[in-house]
Assembly symmetry: C2
Homo-oligomer: 462 residues x 2
C-alpha cells in the first residue's frame, strides 16, 4: 500500500471504514480483470455510495496527487478498469451505486446508477414491455457505467447501434471534482455542446460516469432466426443485401461463422449445424412488431436459393430451435479456448471490404506466421470480425498482431471495433492512428485532466 | 472592409481572386440568413474548393488574428452561420465543395463534401435504393456540413435519430489549421476517443467540417399515413403508446397539431382536416419493408376507437391522400406567419411531461402575457414542441421567451431541441444551463480554439 496514512484517513473519514478496502484478500477481485490477463495492485479500493462521495474521493485524490482507476463490473476485454502493478493507484468501484432510478414505458427511457448490472436494467425495461437493446456475453456482470464508458457493442448493434446511440443523459464526476449533471430525459437537445459524448467510450480517462439515462425501444412481438451456408464471404455480403431488401431495418443480427469456427464448436462443444456444410455460415435474426415477418424471411430464403447465393439453409420453427442455432455462434469463443492458444483481434473494415480483408489477412499470415490457423467469425452486418488466430505456444503474439493490424490499416479499418483500447492496445493505437488525431485526443485529455490522475496509462500512452 | 490589404493579398494569392469576394452586392447572400433576421457585414467571403484550401485560410486568419465564420446553405434558424455587423469577420463558405464522393449500397454509406446540398445526397442514396433519412423543410438548400454542424433534426428523428446518429466519419479543419481526417467508413470503431462527436452540433465554433460519411438505411417498401383527432395531449400520448405496441419501431413520424394550428391552416391555406374536428390532432406515419404494415395500422386505429382514445380518424388510401394529410402539418408555419407576428420556441421536455408542460405554459402566458395566443405543434414522438405564441405588434418577445423557457426549465427540458443556439439563444443558454456545464463547454472551446477566432459569439457568450 503505497499511500500515506493521512490520505487513507481522509478517505475513511469521508466514506466510513467499510467503504475503503485495504486488506490483501478483499482487494483481489478489484485487482485483476475477469479473464485474469491484466493483474494489478491497487493502493486501496474505495466504494462510494453516492455521486457526492465520488466527487469527494476525486477531490481528495487530486489534492494528494494520487491516481484513480474507475471500475464497474470488471468485464472489459482490454484491461481498461484495473490498476497497474505499482500499488499507487486507487480503484474506485461503482458497485454500490446500483439502483434503477426510473423506468418510463411511454417515454421509453430508463435511468440507472453506474454500478447497476446491465441485466438488471434489461429486466426492468422488460417488466414494462420495453427493450434495452444492449446485449452482450457479460451482461450478467457488466455495469451501466462500464457499458457507457466502453461504448459497448454486442449482438444488436446492426439494428440499434452502439451504446452511444442509446445514451440520452449522463452524470459525470470530472477530474477537478465537480459534477456535470446532464441527466436529461430528452430525445432532442441541441442547446450547447453535447459534452456527454466525450465521456462515452473514453474508458474512464476523462471523467467518472455516475448515472445514465438510456433510450428504450418497443419490444418486438415476432422474431425469426435462420442459418444459411454460403460459398464465401462475398456470397454472405450478397445475402446481406438481399436481407436488407426483404427485411429492411428489422434485421437485428447478421453473424458470419467460418467453417473453422463450426469445426471447433463440433469438436469441443459437440454441436453441429443442422444444414449441409459450406465453407461459411450466416446466422440471421430479425424481429418486428408487425405481422408478416416470417413471410418476408421465407421470401428472402427463397430468393437466396434461386439466385444461388445460399447453398443450404433453415429457418427455426420454434424458440428452442432458434436457441440451438444461436448456441452454435455462442460456443465459438469457448471452443477456441479449448483448442489451445490464440491471438485475438477485434477489428472492423468497411462492410463491403470484408471479403478482400479476409483474403489478404489470410495470405499475410500464411507468409509471415506460417502454421497458424485463422478462426474468423463475428458481426458481418457491422463489418466487425473477431479475427482470431490459433497459434503454437512458441508463437510471438506481437508478430501476429502486427500482421493482422497492418492489413486492417490498409483497408482503413479499426484495430478495436468494440472492445476498446484499455491498457492492452495503447501501443497499437499510437502506431496506427494519425498524429493529428492523437494530438487532438491529448489536447482533450489535458484540458479535462491536466494532472493525468484519471485512469492513467489507458487509451493514451503516458 | 476592415481587413488589411496585405491579409487580403494573402487570401487571393492562395485561392485566386475569383474565390475571394469583397464587393458589396456579391457579399449580400453571405451576409444574412435566409429569413433575413440576423443581418451582418463580412470583411470578405472566401470560397475554398478543397480541404487544403480551408486549412490554408484558417492558418492565414490565425496568423492575422482575424475571426472566421463557416457557412453552409445559410438555412439555420438561429443565426449561427452569419457574421456579426462589425465588418471584421471573414465568412468561409463551403458551397464550392459540393461533391458526393461515394455511395455504397451494400455497406449503406455515403461520403459527401461539406457543401453538398442535402437533397443531392438524398437523391444519390435513393438512386441505389437506399434512404438518407435526414428530412427537413430546408433540404433543397441546407448542406451536409451545415446539417452536421447543427446536428439537424427534422421529421424522421423519432425513428432514425438526429444527424449525430447517422455520422460515421468526419473530416474537420481545426482552429490551429491542421486537418483531422476521420473519414472512416466503419459502423463500429472504439479505437480511442471519438473526437468527431465534438464537432457535431457545435455549430462551427470548434472546427470546420469539410466532409462527412453518413449511414444509409434500407428504403421501406410500404408506408401508411393516418390522421386522428383526440381530446387532449394526454390522449395523444396514450395513442403513442398504442402505436408503439402495434407498429413498433416502424413509426417514422408522430406529429401533434393543435386546433389553433388547424384553424390557421384552414384560414390561410384553405386546407381542412378530413375528419371531425377535435381539440388536438395527431399525424402518424409508419413505413416498413415488411408486408402487414397496413394491417397493423388498422389494428391500431381500431384499438384507438375501442379504447376511446381517438375521436375520429382516417388512414390515407393513396400516396396523394397521404400528401394531403401531410400538407396540413406542413402549412402550419406559413399560415402562422400570415396571421401576424409570433414568438417562436423550439423546446423539448420529457415525452410524458408534454401534457403538463402545455397546461402550465398556457397558464403562465395567460397570467404574464395576456392577450397572446398559443400555436403549438410539433414532434410529439420526440417530446419536441414548436411552441409558438401569436402576439400583438407591441408585445415584448423577450418577456414571452422568458415565460415559456422558465416553464421548460422547470420540466428539465431544453430551450433548443433541434434549431441550435447560434447567436439567437446565447443569452438564454447562459441563463438556463448549469454553471458546471457552461464551464465544461468553455474549457473545450479554449482547448481547441484558444484565440477564439472560430465563429465567435455563437453558442457561448464572448
Amino acid at each position: 500500500m503505497n499511500i500515506s496514512a493521512d490520505f487513507l484517513q481522509r478517505l475513511t473519514s469521508a466514506l466510513g471504514p467499510a467503504s475503503v478496502i485495504t486488506d490483501g484478500p478483499d482487494l483481489e477481485p478489484y485487482s485483476v480483470d475477469w479473464r485474469r490477463l491484466f493483474p494489478g495492485t491497487p493502493a486501496c479500493v474505495v466504494r462510494p455510495s453516492s455521486t457526492a462521495q465520488v466527487a469527494h474521493i476525486v477531490q481528495v485524490c487530486r489534492e494528494a496527487g494520487v491516481p484513480l482507476v474507475p471500475q464497474g463490473g470488471n468485464t472489459g476485454l482490454a484491461g481498461g478498469a484495473v490498476p497497474d502493478p505499482s500499488g499507487t493507484q486507487v480503484v474506485l468501484s461503482l458497485n454500490r451505486m446500483a439502483a434503477v432510478r426510473n423506468v418510463d414505458a411511454v417515454g421509453m427511457t430508463i435511468e440507472a446508477e453506474a454500478g447497476c448490472i446491465l441485466k438488471v436494467a434489461q429486466d426492468a425495461a422488460s417488466a414494462v414491455g420495453r427493450l434495452l437493446p444492449i446485449s452482450l456475453a457479460a451482461e450478467g456482470s457488466a455495469t451501466i457505467g462500464g457499458v457507457v464508458a466502453a461504448n459497448a457493442g454486442g449482438v444488436n448493434v446492426l439494428r440499434y447501434g452502439m451504446t452511444r446511440s442509446l445514451v440520452l443523459g449522463l452524470e459525470v464526476v470530472l477530474p477537478d471534482g465537480t459534477v456535470a449533471n446532464g441527466l436529461r430525459r430528452l430525445r432532442k437537445d441541441n442547446a450547447g455542446y453535447d459534452w456527454k459524448q466525450l465521456f462515452i467510450g473514453s474508458e474512464g480517462t476523462l471523467g467518472i460516469v455516475t448515472a445514465a439515462i438510456l433510450r428504450l425501444l418497443p419490444r418486438p412481438k415476432h422474431s425469426v432466426t435462420a442459418l444459411l451456408s454460403v460459398a464465401d464471404p462475398a456470397a454472405a455480403l450478397r445475402l446481406l443485401a438481399l436481407a436488407q431488401d426483404e427485411l429492411g431495418d428489422q434485421i437485428s443480427a447478421f453473424e458470419l461463422i467460418s467453417a473453422t469456427s463450426m469445426q471447433l464448436v463440433a469438436k469441443h462443444a459437440g454441436l453441429k449445424a443442422p444444414i449441409a456444410q459450406g465453407d461459411w455460415f450466416v446466422l440471421i435474426e430479425a424481429a418486428s412488431s408487425l405481422p408478416g415477418l416470417r413471410e418476408a424471411a421465407e421470401a428472402m430464403l427463397g430468393a437466396a436459393f434461386e439466385q444461388e447465393i445460399a447453398l443450404d439453409g433453415v429457418i427455426a420453427e420454434s424458440g428452442a430451435q432458434a436457441a440451438q442455432l444461436w448456441a452454435l455462434r455462442e460456443h465459438v469463443t469457448e471452443s477456441e479456448a479449448r483448442e489451445g492458444k490464440s491471438v485475438k483481434h477485434d477489428v472492423s473494415v468497411p462492410l463491403t471490404e470484408v471479403p478482400r480483408f479476409l483474403d489478404e489477412a489470410g495470405e499475410a499470415l500464411a507468409a509471415g506466421a506460417p502454421g497458424t490457423r485463422v478462426n474468423a467469425f463475428g458481426h458481418l452486418g457491422d463489418g466487425n470480425i473477431h479475427y482470431n488466430v490459433l497459434v503454437d505456444a512458441g508463437q510471438d503474439a506481437g508478430v501476429v498482431n502486427r500482421i493482422v493490424h497492418d492489413v486492417v490499416a490498409a483497408f482503413g479499418g479499426s484495430i478495436s471495433a468494440e472492445h476498446g483500447i484499455g491498457q492492452y492496445r495503447v501501443g497499437e493505437l499510437a502506431r496506427y492512428r494519425a498524429q493529428t488525431e492523437l494530438d487532438l485526443a491529448r489536447k482533450l485529455k489535458r484540458a479535462l485532466d491536466p494532472d493525468g490522475l484519471l485512469n492513467p496509462g489507458k487509451v493514451l500512452s503516458p
